[in-house]
């Protein structure tokens, strides 16, 4: 489902070039739930950004759902994300001027989905927020906001779901609830879920863990259930 071949990322800083992801080759199968772990600065979010097409690799090739994303324009990448990739961020990144319901509607409106309203209603119910649907993000708790973000990521029924530290901004109990919900909805529809976290307990919910350190994959192991 996701295939990285010799993908690296180097940025230019005042002190000279800095490689934040060394050439990496890895594949993630359809329907797999993978946790990417590692300390701060190990390249986890960079890897996730590259898979999402939010950043371009310095070298190598990335394929998502059989399509290369490395030579695409910003506009093509935006369209691809709209169709195939759902993303959940650590800081939720909801649009503050829109209600929870409208936030969930947006990706479907961009894609021109016909049954957007009905589906948004269903999604809001799925994440348990039917009674909070018309509240603005500033009126919701962190856990509620992240559940809205999750519903939004699922809006266009993408085959790939990416989550960047989705519990990083939540207390442990709420974080646990959110991650369980995330993994559950991922598994329910056979989606590929890539989860960046530094919490071993949360990583344990995945099928496989990929550990990064200093921009390199240092370990790749299945999780025993």
């Amino acid at each position: 489902m996701i295939q990285l071949t010799d993908v690296s990322r180097t940025v230019h800083t005042g002190a000279g070039p800095l490689t934040i992801l060394h050439p990496t080759t890895l594949g993630i199968a359809r329907g797999q739930v993978v946790a990417i772990t590692g300390p701060s600065g190990s390249g986890k979010s960079t890897l996730l950004g590259l898979i999402a097409g939010l950043d371009a690799p310095t070298s190598g090739r990335i394929e998502v759902d059989g399509e290369s994303i490395t030579s695409r324009s910003e506009e093509q990448l935006a369209r691809l994300r709209g169709e195939k990739i759902g993303i959940v961020f650590q800081f939720f990144h909801l649009l503050p001027s829109l209600t929870a319901f409208e936030n969930i509607l947006v990706p479907m409106e961009i894609a021109g989905a016909a049954d957007a309203h009905a589906r948004a209603k269903q999604l809001v119910a799925d994440v348990g927020l039917s009674d909070r649907a018309h509240h603005y993000p500033s009126q919701l708790s962190g856990g509620e906001q992240q559940r809205v973000a999750l519903a939004r990521a699922l809006a266009n029924n993408p085959p790939v779901l990416l989550a960047d530290e989705p519990t990083g901004n939540l207390d442990s109990a709420t974080g646990r609830q959110v991650i369980e919900l995330l993994v559950a909805v991922g598994r329910r529809h056979g989606r590929t879920l890539v989860l960046v976290t530094h919490d071993p307990d949360l990583a344990a919910l995945a099928d496989e863990v990929i550990a990064l350190r200093d921009g390199r994959v240092v370990e790749r192991r299945p999780v025993r259930s």
């Binding site: 979010s45 996730l48 950004g49 999402a52 939010l54 950043d55 910003e74 506009e75 935006a78 369209r79 691809l80 994300r81 709209g82 169709e83 993303i87 961020f89 800081f91 990144h93 909801l94 649009l95 503050p96 001027s97 829109l98 409208e102 947006v106 990706p107 409106e109 961009i110 894609a111 021109g112 500033s138 939004r152 266009n156 960047d164």
Partner: protein
């Protein structure tokens, strides 16, 4: 597209309150354009409709001299077979009106009036409406009857049926003219109210003597198809004489052209205001783009294209600009309804209706300017990268302008210039106004930067409020420059106008100083000079000063360089075609110096040469413009009599010292002068007392009915009142501009509110009292206002100097009082508005604010 519209609606819903101020500014500009254009279009429509009434006939033949047999013969011949349906004569002249002594009221009052003598056939077009429903009829004028305007009755203390003396003869007031719609536009400046009498009575008053000022007119009613042809033939026949020929069709054309120019220039005032609003739009859009960077990144992350994102915010701007323009249109409708009829009367209209064309232009300009100003900052959204949601450090790169942004900026400037050209109806005026606005904004910005840099030293002040106020002026995303430009421009207009007015009034006061006359007597005949002197002596501070005055045209020059043998040659050369006021004397005036030749010291006992009647001294302007020099021969036509003169000197005249008079041609007294028809002008100094001035006028009217008196002080007062009105008008425009600036200020405060709420909460958490935070805000806006005021005052100093020096050509006075008051007033205004707009920020609970912001 549906997504764009939906998102635009949601964004508008979320931020309209913050944006509304800026579009109110656009609304003010739109309203100004719509009102000003509508007024001029209304005036044009009315005047065009009434062009025939304004001219009073299909064709008018007019002369400043009595008709000669030759001229009347030509008129008869040309009109004989030209479809002329009717013909009537009119004579207009000035005289003093006096209430009859011994009457019950109005005893001893006199007034200079314009007399119009008419025949039975008058008027061909237009109507004279009388008060009390009385119908106009020439019978009312028979046997020394007169019709007068209401203000004349009031001033003279008379009523219908009373007697008034005109040119020494008693006339009975038979009616009051409520509205005179006959030949309103043809008379030029009026010295007094217009009174109607019969032509026969006027001829019998003895007012039409040698050198008197009268206008002789023949009104013709002609078949429609013959108007243009007859006008052309008459003009051609009288080309070389003082006879002018007007037709209502030509008047309509000229009027149309003049009013179009007026409309376009006035619209530029509105355009300047819309541009000021546009600066506000630009500023707010910039801030919004900064605030929306994350939202844009989210949308892009969710699959939205750059075009869809840009489309969303362009749609928001278009909606708000439409709302602003609609508000402007509403404002314009309200304003035109609120204008009292009395204000419109001098313009010849009774009400203003907003015209479709004015409304369309105003709305279109509002939309275009808003969109153009918003576009450049909005284009920045294209470059927002969704990656910033993962790595905030990527946000910075979007702020540096790229080539496309610079190109868009240049294209926007060019487009704005095109809008200005369109509004001005002239490439030159449009380009000048655009460049002027651009240069003013640039200068204000540079001055603002300099002043902010200078005040930055105060950031080390020990006073908390001062230190933090100064730091706030330079905070990221500050509105300092925008407020300085907006408020500064408004204050600059107001202070400049006040300074120029003060300069003009000061110059006026200097002009009518100790030596200038209080009364000017005109049309004194030669045999009356002595008598007038005797009659006025009991009232005056010094004996009357008289000066002979005749009207002359140059009909030939025989010189070394200038050779104009015939009147036709003079006309073709074009430098000496007008009628000149000419005098004769044996001495120079204090405002004259001889620059070539010699000025005579005595009168000539006889003609100096066989073919020369007398000598003439010309002003250096005549030498410069027409190449006439010492030794040249000049032939002058004085009221039909041609005299031959030789130029013996050239004078430099200080034209601004008007109390000494100024003449292009001065003749040497010689026997030939006695043959020339002329009258005298007398200058009298009576002092300040109105009763004395009235006494002199009374004495003159009693003894010399043909002599008219112009009350200089009354004229100065009326000019001062006109000046006051003009100043008021321009000040209103300036005040509206200042209001736009204040609205931008309020909007700017609203824009930085979020940051301010957070900062205030932190100050409060750290122990600052509400009063201390309020003091900080007051100092911040006080300093900002003071800076805007200083920039405006310095600008006004420069502008008033330039206008005084180059446009009005009067000595310049800096008027420090106005400048200081202007700067202080601006500071107080900005401080008050800033604090009031921040009140809710100061009153919020710190914890709530901190929670909200986090």
């Amino acid at each position: 597209m549906r997504f764009v519209l939906r998102m635009a609606w949601r964004e508008t819903r979320a931020s309209w309150l913050r944006l509304v101020f800026f579009f109110v500014c656009v609304a003010l500009g739109v309203a100004a354009i719509v009102v000003l254009r509508s007024v001029v279009q209304n005036v044009r429509e009315t005047l065009t409709r009434e062009a025939r009434q304004i001219v009073g006939a299909d064709v008018v033949v007019q002369s400043p001299r009595p008709w000669t047999r030759e001229i009347l013969g030509t008129v008869d011949r040309l009109t004989a077979d030209s479809g002329v349906l009717a013909r009537t004569e009119v004579i207009e002249t000035r005289t003093m009106a006096a209430s009859v002594p011994g009457g019950d009221s109005g005893k001893g009052r006199v007034k200079l009036v314009e007399l119009r003598g008419v025949e039975d056939a008058f008027p061909f077009y237009g109507a004279i409406s009388l008060e009390g429903g009385q119908a106009y009829s020439s019978r009312l004028l028979e046997n020394h009857g007169t019709l007068v305007p209401p203000e004349f009755l009031a001033e003279m203390g008379l009523a219908v049926g009373d007697t008034v003396r005109l040119g020494g003869t008693p006339f009975t007031v038979r009616g009051v003219v409520r509205e005179d719609r006959v030949q309103r536009g043809g008379g030029g400046f009026a010295f007094g109210p217009r009174l109607y009498v019969s032509l026969g009575d006027l001829r019998g008053l003895g007012l039409l003597g040698f050198g008197s000022s009268a206008t002789y007119q023949i009104y013709l009613r002609i078949e429609e198809s013959a108007i243009t042809g007859l006008t052309t033939r008459l003009r051609s026949a009288f080309e070389q004489q003082t006879v002018s020929v007007r037709s209502w069709r030509a008047f309509e054309d000229r009027l149309g052209r003049n009013l179009t120019t007026a409309e376009n220039y006035l619209s530029l005032v509105g355009f300047a205001m819309v541009v000021l609003g546009g600066i506000g739009v630009w500023s707010v859009t910039r801030v919004i783009v900064q605030q929306k960077v994350k939202s844009v990144a989210i949308l892009k992350c969710l699959g939205a294209s750059s075009r869809a994102v840009l489309g969303t915010y362009v749609t928001v701007v278009l909606w708000l600009a439409s709302a602003g323009s609609a508000l402007g249109l509403g404002l314009a409708l309200a304003v035109v309804r609120a204008v009292p009829a009395a204000v419109l009367q001098p313009l010849g209209i009774t009400a203003i209706t907003v015209t479709v064309s004015a409304a369309a232009q105003g709305v279109l300009v509002g939309l275009l300017v808003s969109l153009l100003f918003a576009l450049v900052p909005l284009l920045e959204m294209r470059r927002v990268k969704p990656l910033l949601l993962l790595r905030a450090d990527t946000a910075g790169s979007a702020r540096k302008p790229d080539r496309a942004s610079r190109l868009a900026g240049a294209a926007t400037a060019a487009a704005l210039m095109l809008v200005a050209v369109w509004q001005a109806g002239s490439v030159r005026a449009g380009v000048y106004v655009s460049l002027g606005l651009g240069a003013s904004a640039l200068l204000l910005m540079l001055a603002a930067r300099l002043l902010v840099w200078m005040t930055s030293r105060l950031a080390a002040s020990r006073v908390f409020a001062v230190r933090h106020a100064i730091i706030s002026l330079a905070r990221p995303g500050n509105q300092t420059r925008v407020i300085l430009i907006a408020v500064g421009l408004g204050a600059f207009f107001v202070i400049s106008i006040r300074s120029i007015q003060a300069n003009l009034l000061a110059e006026f006061t200097a002009q009518i100083g100790q030596t200038s006359p209080d009364l000017v007597l005109i049309d004194i005949q030669r045999d009356q000079v002595q008598g007038v002197d005797t009659a006025t002596r009991p009232y005056v501070l010094e004996p009357i000063r008289t000066m002979p005055l005749m009207r002359a045209r140059v009909v030939g020059v025989d010189g070394r360089r200038a050779r104009l043998p015939t009147p036709d040659a003079v006309r073709q050369q074009g430098r000496l075609t007008r009628e000149f006021g000419v005098t004769y004397r044996d001495h120079l005036q204090p405002n004259e110096t001889v620059v070539a030749g010699d000025f005579w010291a005595a009168a000539l006992p006889a003609a100096p040469e066989p073919d020369v009647d007398t000598e003439v001294s010309i002003s250096e302007e005549v030498k410069r413009d027409a190449d006439v020099d010492v030794g040249d021969l000049v032939r002058l036509d004085v009221a039909g009599q041609v005299i031959r003169t030789r130029v013996t000197s050239i004078r430099r005249v200080a034209w601004d010292e008007t109390q000494n008079g100024g003449f292009f041609f001065v003749l040497r007294p010689a026997p030939v002068i006695d043959r020339l028809p002329h009258a005298f002008v007398g200058f009298l100094r009576t002092g300040d007392d109105p009763a004395t001035r009235a006494g002199v006028q009374r004495a003159v009217v009693d003894g010399f009915p043909n002599v008219s008196a112009i009350d200089v002080r009354a004229v100065v007062a009326s000019i001062r009142s006109v000046l006051d009105n003009i100043t008021l008008g321009v000040t209103i425009v300036g005040a509206i501009t200042l209001m736009s600036g204040v609205l931008i200020l309020v909007g700017a405060v609203a824009m930085t509110k979020f940051q301010r709420v957070y900062e205030t909460a932190i100050y409060r958490t750290l122990g600052a009292s509400a009063r201390l935070v309020a003091a900080t805000v007051a100092v911040e806006y006080g300093v900002l206002g003071l800076l805007a005021g200083i920039v405006a005052s310095v600008g006004a100093l420069g502008l008033s100097w330039a206008i005084a020096r180059f446009l009005l050509e009067i000595p310049w006075r800096p008027e420090p009082g106005i400048l200081v008051a202007g700067a202080a007033g601006t500071a107080a205004l900005v401080c008050t508005v800033g604090v009031l707009a921040s009140v809710d920020v100061l009153l919020r609970k710190p914890l709530g604010a901190l929670r909200e912001t986090s």
